[in-house]
């Protein structure tokens, strides 16, 4: 049972680190703010969450705090992504790589 949990923890750490690497690569390489938001949202929701799953599987000293941090990250990540995308839209930053753009122009300030 202990070996099984340790194997689960190793797999979770590797997958979470892979998510973080891919997200940072997307933040560097993607063309405009909205694409970068799509990539950078993955660090909080998948990368850190899988590390916390590994922490609980390994029997951390305070698993309640790890679960609390996990729930907080899952709730807060989409909220910050939405606030940043809304700010970019209201500032008038358009998508750069889109073939067509169905959004109306932002309201005047």
């Amino acid at each position: 049972m202990t070996a099984l949990l340790q194997g689960l923890a190793i797999v979770a750490i590797l997958v979470g680190t892979g998510f973080s690497v891919v997200a940072v690569a997307g933040y560097i390489r993607l063309p405009d703010v909205y694409c970068r938001l799509h990539a950078a949202g993955k660090v909080g929701v998948f990368g850190v969450t899988l590390l916390l799953v590994a922490s609980v599987a390994l029997g951390a000293q305070q698993p309640g705090k790890a679960v609390l941090l996990l729930l907080f990250l899952v709730l807060a990540g989409p909220a910050t992504s939405h606030a940043l995308a809304s700010a970019a839209y209201r500032m008038g930053l358009g998508p750069r790589a889109a073939r067509r753009n169905d959004l109306p122009p932002p309201p005047p300030r």
Binding site: Q6, A9, I10, I13, L14, G16, T17, S20, V21, A23, V24, Y27, I28, V33, R36, L37, A40, V43, G44, G47, V48, L51, L52, A54, S55, L58, A60, Q61, Q62, K65, A66, L68, L69, F72, L73, A76, A79, T80, A83, L84, S86, A87, A88, R90, M91, L93, R109
Partner: protein
């Protein structure tokens, strides 16, 4: 804690620290203000990841508390700055 788990934790810690350095450079050269704010949020999330890995490696019970407070403060700061950018130049009471 066996050797494979120890090696995995140390390698993940090194990779996350390297990713933070890359994000700092990219945020420094960011092209607009929302891009830089997004980079700061990303650095905060990676810092939380580093603290969780440190709490697994060193088994100190304090580290996960620091990760919780960094996550909460980072989210509040990002939300406030995004609302400020979205409503900049508007009269009082506007969204």
């Amino acid at each position: 804690m066996n050797a494979a788990l120890q090696f995995t934790l140390q390698a993940a810690l090194a990779i996350h620290v390297l990713l933070i350095a890359v994000c700092v450079v990219r945020t420094w050269r960011g092209e607009n203000v929302v891009d830089r704010l997004l980079g700061a949020d990303l650095i905060g999330a990676l810092t939380v990841a580093v603290l969780v890995l440190l709490s697994l490696l060193r088994a100190t019970p304090m580290t996960i508390d620091i990760a919780l407070s960094i996550a909460a403060l980072g989210v509040i700061g990002t939300l406030a700055l995004a609302k400020h950018l979205a409503g900049r130049g508007r009269p009082e009471g506007g969204a």
